[in-house]
């Protein structure tokens, strides 16, 4: 329980910004407004789509990429088996088992950061993807027959379910970091996906594997991409890759759920929330937390949709929500960094320690089992600056993506009008985000 909270809500030590929440909030809001004005004055021609093409890298990188990819696939696959079995049969102690750190730090915090840095590689190493490829081999000759289900309007929406369930486990459920819970959740999810793939085809299962969908979307921000036709690796500026494709409504919803989850984690650390949830324990705390999580996700999502509607109204167009949905990507990753940076650097050290004894049986495979976490590795001030920087850079990226898309869609005067509601939402998100980080 104690450690569950520690993991679920970052490190026990929350860190304060080197400047007050309101100073940070207003500086960030000012940065957004200034950048918006500068873009409006100076950026009249859409450029990101052509920049996103990038430059194909020589065969050198591609040729070392293949063996590294195969090795990574086996390592991740083996690691996933160890983590799930540690959850199922290892010592059922949050403080001694590998599963909680592996799931909440390596999988949920590190993988999104790595895909943003080095591109769309998750689908090549994902253990679920490996299972899908296996099912594809079993189904040779049968494909296409049952693929019709869920295609069309509802296609892709199932991807929201596992991610929402994960956030609920992480942030709300009172026993969410218990190894047994994580072990059964991982096994159950895998069985459900494989069953789905066998019954309705791997296409449906792939589009329902929410983490793969999410990591694939985030990878669009990466400076490393793939050429659409050939799949060859290309190098480009960071961020610009997101400008190419519109998001589907279900993908926008997925991003809003993730953003809402991060926001709720911030809310749950405030004094206000401490007072609301005081006196509730066990399932009572879970119930209160569930209401809070749903409420924050709804507020974040409604703010976005309302701004999109208003944008539609001002331009006389439609579909602002998906047209500008990709501008949520840098914002999601910005809050992700702001929120989880200290968890990654501090509790992340547990990964190396527990890898020596994943099942909590007293092993010492790599001689690291006796190491202790160095809680002074980053100072609170460093963490504070990283948080501020990540939120501001994330929002600036969002403003840039949205602006470029708007001048692609409309002539300058209308384009600018389409951006006011979105800018408003971003300013509100930023200020609230910073206040939550520090309050």
């Amino acid at each position: 329980m104690t450690h569950a909270l520690m993991l679920a809500h970052g490190v026990g030590g929350r860190t304060d910004l080197p400047l007050s929440a309101w100073q940070a909030g207003w500086s960030a809001a000012a940065a957004l407004l200034v950048s918006f004005a500068v873009l409006g004055l100076a950026w009249h021609r859409p450029r990101l789509r052509e920049l996103a093409v990038g430059r194909v890298v020589g065969s050198g990188l591609a040729s070392i990429g293949a063996p590294v990819g195969v090795a990574a696939r086996w390592i991740v696959g083996f690691g996933a088996v160890v983590v799930v079995t540690a959850g199922l049969i290892g010592v059922d102690d949050v403080a001694a088992n590998l599963a909680p750190v592996a799931v909440y730090v390596a999988f949920w915090v590190a993988v999104p950061l790595i895909v943003v840095l080095i591109g769309p590689w998750w689908s090549s190493v994902s253990p679920w993807e490996a299972a899908f490829r296996f099912v594809d081999r079993l189904r040779v000759g049968r494909e296409g027959r049952t693929e019709v289900l869920l295609v069309g309007r509802y296609d892709g929406w199932l991807a929201v379910v596992p991610v929402a369930a994960f956030l609920w486990l992480e942030l709300v459920y009172h026993d969410g970091a218990r190894p047994r819970v994580l072990g059964w959740a991982g096994l159950g999810y895998t069985v459900a996906l494989v069953g789905m793939a066998l019954r309705w085809g791997t296409g449906v299962a792939r589009r329902s594997e929410g983490f793969g969908v999410l990591f694939g979307l985030l990878a669009r921000l990466s400076p490393i991409g793939r050429e659409p036709e050939t799949g060859r690796p290309v190098i480009r500026l960071p961020l610009v890759g997101a400008a190419v494709d519109d998001l589907r409504p279900s993908e926008v919803a997925l991003l809003l759920v993730v953003l809402g989850g991060t926001a709720f984690d911030g809310v749950s650390r405030t004094r206000f929330w401490g007072d609301v949830s005081a006196g509730h324990t066990g399932w009572g705390a879970t119930a209160v937390g569930t209401v809070g999580l749903v409420w924050v996700v709804v507020v974040v999502a409604v703010a976005w949709q309302a701004a999109a509607r208003l944008g539609d109204h001002l331009t006389g167009g439609s579909g602002s929500s998906t047209r500008f949905g990709h501008s949520l990507l840098p914002i999601v990753i910005g809050y992700h960094v702001a929120h989880y940076f200290s968890l990654l650097v501090l509790e992340g050290q547990q990964l190396g320690i527990r890898a020596s004894d994943p099942y909590g049986r007293g092993w010492d495979l790599f001689g690291t089992a006796g190491d202790a976490v160095d809680w002074t590795r980053v100072s609170p001030a460093t963490v504070g600056w990283v948080q501020l920087g990540a939120i501001v850079v994330g929002h600036l990226g969002g403003v840039l993506l949205a602006h470029d898309r708007s001048i692609e869609s409309w002539r300058p005067s209308i384009a600018l009008r389409s951006q006011y509601p979105l800018l408003m939402v971003m300013v509100v998100y930023t200020v609230l985000g910073l206040v939550l980080m520090t309050g």
Binding site: T2, G12, G13, D16, R271, G274, A278, W375
Partner: protein, 95 residues
């Protein structure tokens, strides 16, 4: 956890928990790095208090005077909570 008998405590604080709530709201104790801090807990139910990161643990309960004593070496804000009920009982801010 530091043995209170061996050190001089620099800062002393007290917390009381009654009927599953912290009397007067969850306090935040602010101390400077390097100080030796003592928090005295009175709790009306049997439980165990745990100060995160410092990993200081003490048994509490009716008629038990539990004292958490630590040297504030790591900067940051740290929560202390009751293991059994999950109730947050105080925060320690070290800067």
């Amino acid at each position: 956890m530091v043995d209170p008998a061996e050190v001089t405590v620099d800062d002393r604080f007290e917390v009381e928990v009654r009927d599953g709530l912290v009397v007067g709201g969850v306090p935040r104790f602010e101390v400077s790095t390097g100080r030796v801090v003592s928090v005295l807990l009175t709790v009306d139910r049997v439980d165990q208090v745990h100060l995160h990161v410092y990993d200081a643990v003490a048994d509490v309960g009716p008629g038990v005077e539990a004292e958490v004593v630590v040297r504030a070496a790591v900067p940051g804000v740290f929560e202390a909570e009751l293991h059994g009920s999950g109730l947050r009982v105080f925060e320690l801010e070290v800067s």
